[in-house]
Amino acid sequence: MAEERVSVGDLKVSTNGYEIAHSKSEVFYPEYERKADLKHQTHYCPGCGHGVAHKLIAEAIEDLGLQDQTILVSPVGCSVFAYYYFDVGNVQVAHGRAPAAATGLKRACPDKIVIAYQGDGDLAAIGTAEIVHAANRGEKITVFFVNNAIYGMTGGQMAPTTLVGQKSTTSPWGRRPVNEGFPLHMAELLATLEAPVYIERVALSDNKNIMKARRAVRKALEIQRAGTGFSFVEILSPCPTIWGKDPVEARKWVAEKMIPSFPLNVFRDRKVEIPTNNEPPRKTVAELVGGAKPAETSRPQHRHHFRDLGIKIAGFGGQGVLLLGQLLAETGMREGLEVSWLPSYGPEMRSGSAHCHVCLSKERIGSPLISRPNVLVAMNELSLRKFAAQVLPGGIIIYGREHLPEDLALPQVQVVCIPASEIADKLGSAKVANVVMMGALLEETECLSPATVMQVLEAKVKNPALLEIDRKALDAGRTYIDHMVAVGAVTQADGFAQ
């Protein structure tokens, strides 16, 4: 009597029993290199869900024609070796970091298919931050999350998804929420986010659910192909070896124990409108690296007696101390000098004091840090008291108040006092006290040209009204010092005591 054969999918059923036909997706390699002597076998245990999950994914990639476009990110765990099976572009990454690596890959190859395949320890424990944030950014990737409620590869330790009461080598009396907390429901957790477009939990518990899983896997990849957004499929999966069950019992355990704790559901299936606001302008590389606009280079205008200057500028935060230093450095640069500007930088904004160091030199600058300045610009008393002693003998202090404190004697240096804040207030903006100080500094040291300072200000200050106040402030600072010289309040017209 002839043998009757019926073809059911890949299995050829004969009256004598089953015959394995070894037909498989083109997306799998023809031979697996993982085991040298068993090239038709995976390394997964009999009844393991990874084999089924791999098959569903490979068939979907093949059917959707995505093999040449797909990059598979393999995790750490039993599926660390996924790249031995999938004949696609493969990237193997660190434990838990697949969604971050997939982010980098997808952003580099936006029109390709990037899949992160992760287990429960990988995704729900060590990589919790990475999956949550990749999902929240709406990365246009697909994540297949294989949840078998246990650490398989390392030999059966507790997973974040281990069921309450489930024994593992690290929960030997069964998971006790009082000590280990409750199982983590990743699909539900991710469904609280705005950006994901598709989140479903499926189970490899029986043929009917496997067919549902098949549809979910396809749908997730179709969503990525369409560029719609983040897609996530959690796959409840048997681990017979670690669970200590045979494959049939293990599938039953998925149905009877896991599904009640991890209900199967489509948690998210919607098109999400992502606003594309404030698109940045485009520039050429030459424009970008060359600065915002070409700097106009002035002829060096510093006077014949210019010498290298180390200038320390200090005051309260908010007095424009750092900006004054930058204005000075930029002006020096435009006049062809070597310059450096080094700020103090602190952890908080309020009530802080700020200072910066500016070097102006004809030569290459060594230390940008000035411990002994030639010039101190002190915008408040605190700064004056703190730094006055550092000024080199014969140097200059420009103090932003009308008089020195009476108890302070500074015989070694030349001190110029100017009520910068009061002058600035009269000009209509307390903010320009630093520019008043700049005027005083220029008039006193003649280190740089006021015209170049104005050029810099014109390039930086876009508001014409503010620019006009700056101009007046610069003039007022210079005039004040000039007047003091005229009345003999300052002993030397300019420059340094030699």
Partner: protein
């Protein structure tokens, strides 16, 4: 065209010029301006900036982008670099090129935000697990922040290895003229990359080699490229060393203060010169040996408790006396302080 530019910003200008169009990072003082400049500039030239949820995620995003063969970078400071060490080990193991900037601050732990050079061991000697090296360059000026970032991209691609730009809070925060003209920089073709194409389908990026023989072979190959780098890539600068009797050695911001101190000491008649390693790995051992052979004594200055000094000692193998002076906690020695140290050590050479 010279522009007044912050060191941290210059990093991104150099990176853009080098063809980097991908930045993944997390803010931290005193490195945050690098992320801010990347956020501002990269989209303007069609690039990608993502502020990651952590430095751990940043470095793994870098791993992903590097796998696809693009020029990619991140930046942080000490605490962030500690978190990135896992990823750096994987990048080195998978032979992925990328650039990582460490704007060093005070440590250990949260330490403070003032400059230190105490990540030398972590960056130059490794820090992550396993046998690998980082290529490490050490800028000392704003101009070098741009130029050495470009060099770091070139070295990273040439050796398929992470390259570190190791600098400190002062060099990152300070402004100086940056003279950067547009020039064409072409990254090499990366036939090994995984790009989601038919041509690259067979490619695989991985750091796992389960068979001991395979892993040994992989590491031997890595070692061979490190030897090639040691032979070809050392860079350094010498200043007034011709007739020097005392050689001071320092990198980064310290080399700037030392340069001023050398000038000042020379004015006092002390024959002192400066040796500045520009590449910290490979360490310019051959060059240092040549200079050191002409001097009586060396003085190594660092913002640490003595880290690079170990490489100086390894290089000279006891042939010359080597003194060390370090400041820590975020204190940077003044010119006067280093002149005094030079005087002290010069007196001891005679």
């Amino acid at each position: 065209m010279r522009q007044l530019c912050k060191g941290n910003v210059a990093v991104i200008k150099g990176a853009v010029l080098a063809g980097c169009r991908a930045y993944y990072g997390y803010p931290i003082t005193p490195a945050s301006e690098i992320a801010e400049a990347a956020a501002l500039y990269l989209p303007e030239v069609g690039g990608t900036f993502v502020q990651a949820e952590s430095e751990t995620a940043s470095i793994n995003m870098v791993y992903g982008a590097a796998s696809a063969g693009v020029r990619v970078m991140t930046a942080s400071s000490g605490p962030g670099l500690s978190l990135m060490q896992e990823g750096i080990s994987y990048l080195a193991g998978a032979e992925l090129p990328c650039v990582i900037v460490d704007v060093m601050r005070g440590g250990p732990g949260l330490g403070n935000i003032a400059p230190e050079q105490s990540d030398y061991f972590a960056m130059v000697k490794g820090g992550g697990h396993g046998n690998y090296r980082n290529l490490v360059v050490a800028p000392a000026s704003v101009q070098e922040m741009a130029e050495l970032t470009i060099l770091a991209f070139e070295l990273a691609d040439k050796y398929r290895n992470p390259a570190i730009v190791l600098t400190d809070g002062f060099v990152g925060q300070m402004m100086e003229p940056l003279d950067l003209e547009y020039r064409e920089i072409v990254a090499p073709e990366k036939s090994w990359a995984v790009k989601g194409t038919a041509e690259t389908r067979k490619n695989m990026v991985t750091s796992i080699f389960l068979e001991p023989d395979d892993l040994e072979e992989h590491q031997r190959r890595m070692e061979a490229k490190y030897v090639r780098a040691q032979q070809a890539e050392t860079r350094c600068e010498e200043y007034r060393t011709e007739d020097a009797e005392l050689l001071v050695v320092g990198f980064g911001i310290v080399s700037r203060v030392l340069r001023s101190a050398v000038d000042e000491a020379r004015r006092q008649g002390i024959k002192v010169g400066l040796f500045r390693p520009i590449t910290l790995w490979p360490f310019p051992a051959k060059e240092l040996t040549a200079v050191a052979s002409r001097v009586e004594k060396l003085l190594v200055v660092e913002l640490s408790n003595g880290q690079m000094v170990e490489d100086v000692r390894l290089t000279l193998e006891g042939r010359k006396p080597i003194e060390f002076y370090g400041r820590v906690g975020g204190n940077v020695p003044s010119v006067e302080e280093l002149v005094a140290k030079i005087e002290e050590n010069a007196a001891a050479t005679v």
